[in-house]
């Protein structure tokens, strides 16, 4: 999207290129110029090559030609603008009509993806071809290659998840995730994939929860300021009936970190959540938990996480009101709660 040349036009040797308007084999087709209307509005300075190809594409679209030469024309058009979803859609119609062998198409779209890995249309095209073929055998290796160049490419992950889900290829995925996390423990896409795999295989049943908590806590101890690990920890705990505050080893790690002087805002935020949960469960002294929570919020707002000052002040107010509000309601029946 930035103002830098992005097509292959400039890069390859143009001396062999023959415009369609000069091609004998296309003499029977009248090119259709683009109908922008009389005034230039966001008028792009197309190269002669671009204009020529698209004039012929428009002609082919108009006449509904679905021939081999039309197929080749779409390839030329896509080389110049791989984001033209109309051309991709029409190419798919031609492929169907000609009943083309789709394996070469898979190789073709692989090349276009390699040059344009952040483009929606190319990944969708690959997905459709794989769907038609009902053959996922190249997909895990292909997405792995793309991810080896950009381990967070959203389209690659999305395609990979679709393949795994559709063709039930979960088997080695956790191992792949482990490998990515060894490369970069801060890779949030890998953590997300971990959640995805477990959620869709064993599910977060108690023994899995225990195993994942142990795994995550180990990572947190190594790199405390890694939001991915804390978010995953929370994600896992969603499935634990005990919640954040009840899990012994979680509390222990947090308390140890805190007493060793660790003031990571991620740790402090987690402690706030533990307090909040204690309040909600009406576990023991609500007032004490509230006091702790508010103190942590103040530390965060004023010292350790000042960028989020408004948020921490809101959380403190919200918790305070929740406790005081519920105490006002309960004042008739539970006098012990008023020891604040």
């Amino acid at each position: 999207m930035a103002e830098a040349g992005s097509s292959s036009e400039e890069l390859c040797d143009e001396t062999n290129w023959v415009f369609y308007k000069y091609r004998v084999e296309w003499k029977d087709v009248t090119p259709v110029p683009q109908d922008d209307g009389p005034y230039p509005i966001v008028a792009i300075a197309y190269s002669e090559k671009f204009q020529d190809i698209y004039d012929y594409f428009r002609a082919v679209l108009k006449s509904c030609e679905k021939s081999e030469r039309a197929l080749q024309l779409t390839k030329d058009a896509l080389d110049l603008n791989p984001a033209n979803y109309t051309v991709w859609q029409y190419r798919r119609e031609i492929l169907k009509h000609l009943n083309k062998d789709l394996i070469p198409e898979l190789h073709y779209v692989k090349e276009v993806i390699e040059d344009n890995p952040k483009n929606y249309q190319v990944w969708h095209h690959r997905r459709v071809i794989v769907e038609w073929l009902q053959d996922p055998s190249y997909e895990l290796s292909f997405t792995k290659t793309v991810l080896s160049q950009d381990s967070k490419n959203y389209h690659a992950w999305q395609h990979r998840q679709w393949v795994i889900r559709t063709f039930k290829l979960f088997e080695n995925e956790l191992q792949y995730v482990d490998h990515l996390l060894e490369d970069d423990i801060r890779n949030n896409s890998a953590w997300n994939q971990r959640y995805f795999v477990i959620n869709n295989t064993t599910g977060f049943k108690p023994d899995v929860v225990e195993q994942e908590l142990a795994f995550t806590l180990e990572k947190i101890k190594k790199v405390t300021n890694n939001e991915s690990a804390w978010n995953y920890l929370r994600g896992v705990l969603l499935h634990h009936s005990g919640g954040l505050s009840q899990v012994q080893n979680v509390r222990k790690v947090c308390e140890e970190l805190y007493s060793s002087g660790n003031r990571s805002p991620l740790l402090l935020a987690f402690l706030v959540d533990i307090c909040e949960e204690n309040i909600e469960r009406a576990d023991g002294d609500k007032a004490d938990s509230l006091h702790q929570a508010v103190q942590l919020c103040d530390m965060l707002a004023n010292e350790y996480d000042t960028i989020r000052r408004e948020y921490w002040n809101y959380i403190a107010r919200s918790l305070t009101q929740r406790v005081n509000g519920s105490e006002e309601e309960a004042s008739g029946s539970t006098k012990t709660d008023l020891n604040c």
């Binding site: 999207m1 930035a2 103002e3 830098a4 992005s6 097509s7 922008d36 209307g37 005034y39 230039p40 509005i41 966001v42 008028a43 792009i44 300075a45 190269s47 671009f50 698209y54 603008n81 791989p82 984001a83 033209n84 979803y85 109309t86 859609q89 929606y120 969708h124 997905r127 459709v128 381990s151 967070k152 959203y154 999305q158 998840q161 490369d183 970069d184 801060r186 890779n187 949030n188 896409s189 997300n192 190594k222 790199v223 300021n225 890694n226 939001e227 991915s228 978010n231 995953y232 929370r234 994600g235 935020a269 960028i307 989020r308 408004e310 948020y311 002040n313 809101y314 107010r317 009101q321």
Partner: protein, 431 residues
């Protein structure tokens, strides 16, 4: 600000004095650069590609912050929004674009919307004849089967449809409104809807959360919304909320700023905000603001980018409205739940191209998309509810107000909604 403080600013030109006087004129949230430097990333002796990339960006941002702290000693009005440069860049782009924009040849209504909305934010007006020319061009992008395409002669697609409708509503003339074929548009929306409530971006195209947002936004704006069309959409959107709290492009994927905005805005348009875990969403989104740079990242452990000033920042007005209903007494009556000054600092100091246009992050080239979304985010950061203003730098930096659900001017949105409300809703029966 009282006159004594005015006096101290002119008597004593040090940064100290300016910082003190500024902290009286603006909320105490204005950041000092000594304090900001403490927020530099610490890799805990465990460097990984993520931390290396983050530190590189912080390095280039710190250089600009340092430069700025010297500039502000001389230029009391800094940072200044380069209004004239941006307006010139945008106006030129409205007619002609260089060859490099060939890659956006299937997104020309987007180009119109990004430019028109940016000009609207800058309070720039267009000549009547020019408005009409743009309307006619967008008319050429409209398809007989309904919806708008990326350019004349292309197939209809939800994204340029959203962009075209937004652009036309921004133009706001009767001619602009009436070019939209509402009946056909409704048919087009039906043609891209799936029974599970999701929408394909175009017939035979990809399904993701952008689809339902684009469909809802245009349906509401031009008054063709029906319950039947969006049956199950709320639950499909909810299925995109991740364990992190944000929304993903499709179920199972990673939470992401662009998709998070689409999810929340779509739920708002459905009136079904209460279906998602708002607490979890709020936690995720406030953590997307970068403690050092001040701007927003799109995903956990990724880099700051000026466009998220809107995708992430723009969700806060929506959140505010939701929390007012759920948790009215605890909600602030002064500010959004993110650091408004820090975001303004990031945009004004790090995202402006000196020749006009704005960027993703320092060293990146300018483009029209980033110009639109940095300015949109800047507008949100400058204004609380009822336009209560909080302007960093020059008072002239103040931009026009936006409607946070559609991201067009507030006035433009209200005028369009009013116009189309009076029209009959087509009732297409599903086949």
């Amino acid at each position: 600000m009282c006159t004594e403080l005015q006096g101290s600013r002119y008597q004593n030109n040090t940064f100290q004095a300016i910082r003190v006087s500024r902290s009286f004129s603006m909320a105490a949230n204005v950041r000092s650069f000594e304090a900001i430097k403490k927020e530099r990333f610490k890799d805990e002796n465990c460097p990984t590609p993520t931390s290396e990339e983050q530190m590189k960006v912080e390095e280039s941002v710190e250089q600009l912050f340092d430069l700025f702290s010297k500039i502000v000693e001389i230029d009391l009005d800094a940072p200044t929004l380069l209004r004239l440069h941006h307006a010139t860049f945008l106006k030129k782009s409205l007619t002609y674009l260089p060859n490099a924009y060939q890659c956006l040849d299937a997104s020309r209504p987007w180009l119109c919307y990004w430019i028109l909305h940016s000009l609207e934010l800058l309070d720039e007006t267009l000549a009547t004849e020019d408005i009409s020319k743009i309307v006619q061009f967008l008319g050429k992008c409209q398809c007989p089967e309904g919806g708008f395409a990326g350019g004349p002669g292309q197939f209809p697609h939800l994204a340029p449809t959203y962009a075209a409708v937004n652009a036309l509503c921004t133009l706001g003339t009767e001619e602009a409104y009436s070019i939209i074929d509402r009946e056909q548009l409704q048919k087009f929306l039906w043609s891209v809807r799936s029974p599970d409530g999701a929408f394909m971006m175009h017939p035979g195209g990809e399904v993701d959360i952008r689809g339902v947002y684009c469909a809802l936004a245009v349906a509401r704006l031009v008054n063709i919304y029906t319950d039947a069309l969006f049956d199950n959409s709320a639950s499909w959107i909810i299925s995109c909320q991740t364990y992190e709290g944000g929304f993903s492009g499709s179920p199972g994927m990673e939470a992401h700023g662009g998709y998070a905005f689409c999810g929340l805005a779509a739920l708002s348009l459905l009136g079904k905000e209460q279906l998602c875990d708002m607490k979890s969403f709020l936690r995720w989104i406030v953590n997307r603001q970068m403690r050092f740079e001040g701007g927003f990242q799109g995903r956990t452990n990724k880099l700051v980018d000026g466009c998220y000033s809107f995708w992430q920042g723009g969700a806060f007005p929506l959140l505010h409205r939701i929390l007012m209903q759920e948790d009215g007494n605890a909600v602030s009556m002064e500010r959004w739940l993110f650091h408004q000054e820090a975001l303004q600092e990031y945009v004004l100091i790090c995202c402006q191209n000196s020749s006009g246009g704005l960027v993703d992050k320092p060293t990146k080239p300018r483009d029209i998309y980033h110009t639109c979304y940095t300015l949109s985010g800047l507008s949100v950061a400058q204004h609380f509810v009822h336009g209560k203003a909080n302007i960093v730098g020059n008072r002239n930096n103040e931009l026009a107000l936006i409607h946070p659900v559609y991201n067009i001017g507030l006035e433009a949105a209200l005028n369009a909604l009013q116009y189309f409300q009076r029209l009959h809703i087509p009732q297409r029966q599903p086949s």
